[in-house]
C-alpha cells in the first residue's frame, strides 16, 4: 500500500475510503470541478497500482466530490507551465495521465466509476477505460478538445472509435454533450442508476465482496434502469450521423451535412455545422485521423500515438492553436479563438502527416507504459 499520510497536500485531492474489500476513491477538488491535476493523477496511479497487488482489495469505486465527476485535465496549469517555458512539465502531466488510463484499461479488478455529474476530457479518461461506468440523470459527458485547439486524448481514439457506427467521430469532432441516457445508449456508460440510489448502490457493491465482473454487473443492475432518450437526443440522429461522419475527410463530412441540410431545414444539422466551423481546423483533421487509426488498433498504440501528438502540440512548432484555444476559452474567456490556419483547406495533408510522423527531437521519449503480463481478455475489450 502506498503511504496515505503524505506530508504534501496531494493526498487530499483523492480521498480514500475502505469498505470491506472495496476501495472508494473520491476526486476531491470540487471548486475546480475535480479537474485532474498532476498530483491527482499521480496519486490515482499510485493507488491503482498498489490496489492491484493487494489481495484484500477486490473492487474499486471511483467518484467525484460535488457536482462534477471530473471536468478534465487541469489544462490551465499545463498552459501556465508551458508559457513559463516549462513545456516539459506539461508533457509530463499528459504522460502520467495516459499511463493511468492504460492501467485502468488493463486493470485486473473491476473498477466502478460513478459518473454523477460532469465527465469531460480527462474525466472520461479515468472512467471510460474502467470495467463499469454508471451514469445518472446528472451525467454530462463531452470531449470538447477540438474547440480548445487540442484533440480527444486520454485514449479517446480507442474508446470513441468503438462506439456504434460513426458516432465516435461525431462526439469527438463536435464535442457533443451527452446526458446519462445517451451515454448508456451509445455504450459509454454500462449502467444508468438514478442518483438517489447511489448510496444504496455503493453499500451493495461493498457488501458484494466480489471481484467477479458478472456479480458486480448484476449488483449494479439491481439499481439500474433504462431511461428514455430525450426527444432531441443525438442518438435519434444515428442514421444521419453514420451517413455524414463516415466520410473520408472533414471537408467531405461538412459537405455531406450541408447536403442533408439542403434537403430540409434542420436545427440539429446547423448546430452541428456550427460546432465544426468553430473548432480548430487543424484539431478537426488530427482528431479524425486519430479516431480512424485508433479504431484499427489496440489501446497501447492509441495512447502512444496520442502522446506523440501531445508532445508535438506542446512544442507548438507546427501551430499554436492549443495555446490560442486555452487563451480564448479558459484564460481571457473571449470565446473567440483565432485559429491558424483558419480554414480547413489550408491544413494540408502534409501538415497533418507531421503530427503523426516519428518525432525527431533529442528530448523525445516514448510513452513508457508499464508491462502488464496478466491481462485478462475481458480487461482489454470493454467497449
Amino acid at each position: 500500500m502506498a503511504s496515505i499520510s503524505s506530508s504534501f497536500g496531494e493526498t487530499d485531492q483523492v480521498l480514500v475510503e475502505e469498505k470491506s474489500s472495496a476501495k472508494i476513491f473520491t476526486l476531491n477538488r470540487p471548486k475546480q470541478l475535480n479537474a485532474a491535476s498532476f498530483q491527482m493523477v499521480s496519486r490515482l496511479l499510485d493507488l491503482f497500482l498498489a490496489c492491484e497487488d493487494d489481495p484484500s482489495v477486490k473492487l474499486i469505486i471511483l467518484k467525484g466530490k460535488g457536482r462534477a465527476f471530473c471536468a478534465g485535465g487541469d489544462v490551465t496549469a499545463v498552459v501556465r507551465d508551458i508559457t513559463q517555458g516549462n513545456w516539459r512539465l506539461g508533457a509530463n502531466f499528459f504522460g502520467r495521465e495516459f499511463i493511468l488510463n492504460y492501467v485502468m484499461a488493463t486493470y485486473s479488478k473491476p473498477q466502478v466509476s460513478i459518473l454523477n455529474g460532469i465527465v469531460m476530457g480527462g474525466g472520461a479518461g479515468v472512467s471510460i477505460h474502467g470495467r463499469f461506468r454508471v451514469a445518472t440523470e446528472n451525467s454530462l459527458f463531452a470531449m470538447p478538445e477540438t474547440a480548445l485547439g487540442l484533440f480527444p486524448d486520454v485514449g479517446a481514439s480507442y474508446f470513441l472509435s468503438r462506439l456504434p457506427g460513426f458516432f465516435g467521430e461525431y462526439v469527438g469532432l463536435i464535442g457533443a454533450k451527452l446526458d446519462g441516457a445517451e451515454m448508456l445508449a451509445c455504450g459509454l456508460a454500462t449502467h444508468f442508476v438514478p442518483s438517489e440510489k447511489l448510496s444504496l448502490l455503493e453499500d451493495a457493491l461493498c457488501k458484494a465482496d466480489s471481484n467477479d465482473p458478472a456479480i458486480i454487473s448484476a449488483t449494479i443492475s439491481e439499481f439500474s434502469l433504462v431511461p428514455n432518450l430525450k426527444e432531441r437526443s443525438h442518438c435519434h440522429r444515428l442514421n444521419v450521423i453514420n451517413k455524414c461522419f463516415c466520410r473520408r475527410t472533414v471537408e467531405e463530412i461538412i459537405l455531406a451535412l450541408e447536403r442533408e441540410a439542403a434537403d430540409k431545414e434542420d436545427e440539429w444539422i446547423s448546430s452541428t455545422l456550427q460546432s465544426l466551423k468553430k473548432a480548430s481546423p487543424t484539431s478537426l483533421k488530427i482528431s479524425l485521423r486519430l479516431i480512424r487509426e485508433g479504431r484499427l488498433q489496440g489501446i497501447v498504440k492509441c495512447l502512444v500515438r496520442e502522446y506523440g501528438l501531445v508532445w508535438t502540440v506542446m512544442r507548438g512548432e507546427i501551430n499554436k492553436d492549443f495555446f490560442e484555444g486555452c487563451r480564448a476559452i479558459l484564460l481571457d474567456k473571449d470565446k473567440n479563438p483565432k485559429w491558424e490556419p483558419s480554414k480547413l483547406e489550408q491544413v494540408t495533408e502534409d501538415m497533418v502527416d507531421r503530427y503523426f510522423s516519428k518525432i525527431n527531437d533529442e528530448d523525445w521519449e516514448d510513452l513508457d507504459l508499464p508491462r502488464r503480463s496478466n491481462i485478462p481478455p475481458h480487461a482489454i475489450a470493454k467497449l
Binding site: F166, L296, K358, N374, P377, H378, A381
Partner: protein, 675 residues
C-alpha cells in the same frame, strides 16, 4: 478409450505440474495461458509505422478509412471472439446467400463513396487510390474484390481502352455509380488462354446496320463470366468479326443481357457455373447468344471500326498487333491480381506467426516450460523464408503498380512481360505460403474462422484467371528470346526488360562463399543475373538447334519448355530482387535498412537453396550450396526476434486477422460457448 484416459492423465499431470512450478498467481502454466506476443516479445528494433508506410506505399489514409467503413458495419459480419471483434464473410452461407451479401456490401461501399473516381477520375493519383482501396477490399474478402474488379477493371477497363468518346460518355459514369452492372465475356468453354481461337461470331448486316452475335457451337458458350449468373446487365463480348464472309479477328461488342429488373433479354441464354472450390461470393455464369442483334455503334471501336456500309477500318494493319491491343485491360487485372496475392500471403503469415509466438509444444528440458513454436529452428525455416519472400514481392508489387501507371506505347511490352512474370510468381508464392501457414497452425488452421484454410480456396483461381501461369511464363521467355535475337542480329546492346546486365562481362561467383559474401547485395545481384544470362543463352541455343533440325519456331518453343520455365523464373526473381534492392536503397532510416537487408539476404539465399537450377547448371558448387543452407538457418534465427514487428508492419488491422492470432484460449473457452 483406455488410451484416451491415459493421455488425459498425462496431460493433466503435466498441467498441474506446471501450476505448482509457477508462482501462485492467476497465471497458470505457460502452456495453457495466453500471453500476448506484444508482452512476451522483445521491443521492436524498428518503427513499425514507417515500415508499414514503406510496404503499403501509398494512400494509407484512404486504406484506413475503408477498413473503418467495413469494421463499423453489420454487413461485414462482425463477430466477438476472445474479447476481440473480427470481420469476415460467413462462408457457411449458401452460394446464393454469399452472392447476395457480396452485392449488398458493394451497395454499401457505393453509398459511402468508395468507388468515386474509379472510372471518371483522371491521373495517377486516382489510379493509385483505386488500387489501394481494392487491396483493402481483398483483405476482407477476395470474392468481393473480384466482383468489383470485374465491373470496374474488366468491363470498365474495356470501355475505357476499346471504346471511344461515345462509349465513354454513355457508360463510364453509369458504371461508376452502378446504374448498370458490367461483365467481361471473353473466355469460352473451348478457349481460355488462347483468346484468338474463340468461336463466338459477330456478323455485320449492312442492310440493318446491325451486328448479329451467335454462339455457333456448345464449345463457344461464354464460360466463367464473373457477375453473369445473377447480376450483370451488360457484357463486353469478345467475338470473331465477320464482314462479307471475311473474318477480321477478335473484336469487342457491348451487349445488354438483362433489363434493369434483372430479367434476361430475349436471344440470350444464361446458366450458372455452379458451386466452386472458392469465390462462391462471385456469380460466375455461362452465356449463349442466339442471333442477338445489336447496333453498329456497340462495336468498341478504338482499335477498328466498321462503316455503315460495311467497310472494315483499322489504323493497326497487323492483325497480331490489333489483337494485342485488345488484351490491355487484362494487364490492369494482372497487376491487381499480383498485388492481391501478396496481401493474402501477408494475412496468412501474420496469423501463423502470431500463433507461433503464443502456442507452445513439447518441452526440451526436464520440467521446463514447453517451447514456443517459433523458437524451433524448423518452424522458423518453414515460415520466415516465406516472410522474406513476401517482403521482396511486396516491393515488387509496388514497382509493378508504378510501372503500370507510366504505361505508354514504348512501355507496353515491358509492362506485359513484367506483369505476366509477377502475376505468375506472386500467385504461386501465395498459394504455397497459404498451405505452409495452414499446416503451421495445425488443427486450428482447419477452422474457417481462422481464415488461412479458406483463403486457399478463395485464391486458388489466381494461377488460372487472367492467363494461366505457365502460359504467361512461356510468354515471358519468348519475349526475352525475341529481345536476345534482336540484340544479337543488330549487334546492339540490350536496353529493355532489365537485360542491360547482359551487356557487361559475365559475373564471376567466388569459389568459396563465406557469410559476408552471401549477404552482399552485389553478389546476390550477380548470381541472379548469371542465372538469367546463362539460361537465356541456353534457351536461344536450344531453340536454334531445333530450328536447324527443321522444326518450326512454334514447335521449337514447345519442346524447349524446360529451359523456358527456368528462364521465366530467373527473369522474375531477378526483377523482384532489383525492386527490393531499390526500395531498400531509398530508405534512410538505419534501423529499417538493417532489417530489410536481412530479409533481402534471406530471400536470395532461400531462392538459391530451393531452385535446382543453381546446382543443375553449376552456378553453385555443392560446397557453396551447403554454405548457403547454413546461412539460411542463421538468417532465420537473426530475423526471429523481429518476426512480430515484421508482421505488424503489414498494416492489417486485428479485426481482419483471426481468433488464433490473438487470445485463442479465451476464444475457445467454455464461457465463449455459453455466450
Amino acid at each position: 478409450m483406455e488410451k484416451v484416459n491415459f493421455r488425459t492423465q498425462i496431460l493433466s499431470g503435466h498441467l498441474q505440474n506446471h501450476r505448482h512450478a509457477t508462482t501462485a498467481t492467476i497465471c497458470a502454466s505457460p502452456c495453457v495461458s495466453y500471453v500476448p506476443p506484444e508482452v512476451s516479445e522483445q521491443p521492436f528494433s524498428f518503427d513499425v509505422a514507417s515500415m508499414r508506410k514503406l510496404m503499403d506505399g501509398h494512400n494509407l489514409g484512404d486504406r484506413d478509412w475503408l477498413f473503418n467503413l467495413m469494421v463499423q458495419s453489420e454487413l461485414f459480419n462482425p463477430r466477438l471472439r476472445g474479447g476481440k471483434v473480427f470481420v469476415a464473410p460467413d462462408y457457411n452461407q449458401s452460394m446464393e446467400q454469399q452472392r447476395e451479401m457480396t452485392m449488398k456490401r458493394i451497395e454499401y461501399l457505393l453509398d459511402r463513396g468508395v468507388f468515386k473516381g474509379w472510372l471518371t477520375g483522371k491521373g495517377p493519383e486516382a489510379e493509385m487510390k483505386k488500387f489501394a482501396l481494392l487491396e483493402v477490399i481483398e483483405i476482407f474478402d477476395y470474392a468481393l474484390a473480384i466482383k468489383i474488379g470485374v465491373h470496374f477493371l474488366l468491363w470498365g477497363g474495356a470501355i475505357q481502352c476499346f471504346g471511344t468518346k461515345r462509349h465513354h460518355d454513355e457508360w463510364l459514369s453509369a458504371t461508376e455509380n452502378y446504374l448498370i452492372k458490367g461483365c467481361f465475356a471473353m473466355t469460352e468453354l473451348g478457349h481460355g488462354s488462347n483468346v484468338q481461337g474463340i468461336e463466338t461470331t459477330a456478323t455485320y448486316e449492312a442492310n440493318t446496320g446491325e451486328f448479329v452475335i451467335n454462339t455457333p457451337f456448345e464449345s463457344a458458350q461464354k464460360y466463367w463470366i464473373g457477375v453473369a449468373a445473377n447480376h450483370a446487365t451488360h457484357a463486353v463480348v469478345f467475338s470473331q468479326l465477320n464482314i462479307d464472309g471475311n473474318n477480321q479477328g477478335v473484336h469487342t461488342f457491348i451487349t445488354q443481357i438483362r433489363d434493369e429488373n434483372g430479367n434476361i433479354y430475349p436471344n440470350i441464354r444464361i446458366a450458372d457455373c455452379g458451386h466452386k472450390i472458392g469465390l462462391n461470393g462471385v456469380d460466375n455464369g455461362r452465356i449463349w447468344f442466339d442471333n442477338l442483334h445489336i447496333p453498329r455503334e456497340n462495336l468498341l471501336n478504338s482499335v477498328a471500326d466498321v462503316s455503315p456500309d460495311g467497310k472494315y477500318l483499322s489504323a493497326i494493319k497487323d492483325p497480331e498487333q490489333r489483337f494485342a491491343a485488345f488484351l490491355a485491360p487484362l494487364t490492369s487485372g494482372r497487376v491487381a491480381i499480383a498485388v492481391s496475392a501478396v496481401y493474402s500471403a501477408k494475412i496468412s503469415l501474420a496469423i501463423a506467426i502470431r500463433y507461433a509466438l503464443t502456442r507452445r509444444a513439447f518441452s526440451i528440458t526436464a520440467n521446463g516450460p514447453e517451447l514456443l513454436l517459433l523458437d524451433y529452428p524448423s518452424h522458423q525455416r518453414r515460415l520466415l523464408p516465406l516472410l522474406a519472400k513476401t517482403y521482396a514481392m511486396s516491393f515488387a508489387g509496388n514497382y509493378l503498380k508504378l510501372l503500370y501507371l507510366k504505361r505508354s506505347p514504348q512501355l507496353i511490352k515491358t509492362i506485359h512481360v513484367v506483369s505476366s512474370a509477377f502475376k505468375a510468381t506472386l500467385t504461386w508464392h501465395n498459394l504455397r505460403t497459404l498451405q505452409e501457414c495452414r499446416e503451421a497452425c495445425g488443427g486450428q488452421g482447419m477452422k474457417t474462422e481462422n481464415r488461412i484454410g479458406q483463403l486457399k480456396g478463395e485464391y486458388d483461381a489466381q494461377p488460372t484467371f487472367e492467363g494461366d501461369n505457365y502460359v504467361l511464363m512461356q510468354q515471358v521467355s519468348k519475349a526475352l528470346l525475341a529481345e536476345y535475337v534482336a540484340a544479337k542480329m543488330r549487334n546492339k546492346p540490350f536496353k529493355e526488360l532489365g537485360l542491360e546486365h547482359m551487356n557487361r562481362s559475365c559475373p564471376v561467383i567466388p569459389a568459396q562463399l563465406i557469410s559476408s559474401t552471401l549477404r552482399n547485395t552485389q553478389f546476390q545481384n550477380d548470381i541472379f543475373c548469371l542465372r538469367e544470362r546463362d539460361l537465356l543463352n541456353r534457351f536461344a541455343a536450344e531453340v536454334s538447334q531445333y530450328r536447324a533440325q527443321g522444326e518450326s519456331k512454334e514447335s521449337a518453343f514447345v519442346v524447349s519448355y524446360q529451359v523456358a520455365e527456368d528462364l521465366g523464373k530467373a527473369f522474375s526473381d531477378r526483377a523482384i530482387l532489383q525492386s527490393a534492392i531499390e526500395a531498400e536503397n531509398n530508405v534512410t532510416d538505419a534501423s529499417l535498412k538493417i532489417i530489410l537487408g536481412l530479409l533481402r539476404s534471406l530471400y536470395v539465399l532461400v531462392m538459391l537453396e530451393e531452385d535446382a537450377a543453381f546446382l543443375r547448371y553449376e552456378y553453385l558448387s555443392t560446397d557453396n550450396a551447403a554454405a548457403v543452407r547454413k546461412e539460411v538457418a542463421k538468417l532465420c534465427s537473426e530475423i526471429r526476434p523481429q518476426a512480430l514487428a515484421l508482421v505488424s508492419s503489414f498494416g492489417i488491422p486485428d479485426a481482419f486477422l483471426s481468433p488464433i492470432a490473438f487470445d485463442w484460449v479465451a476464444a475457445n473457452s467454455w464461457s465463449a460457448v455459453e455466450n
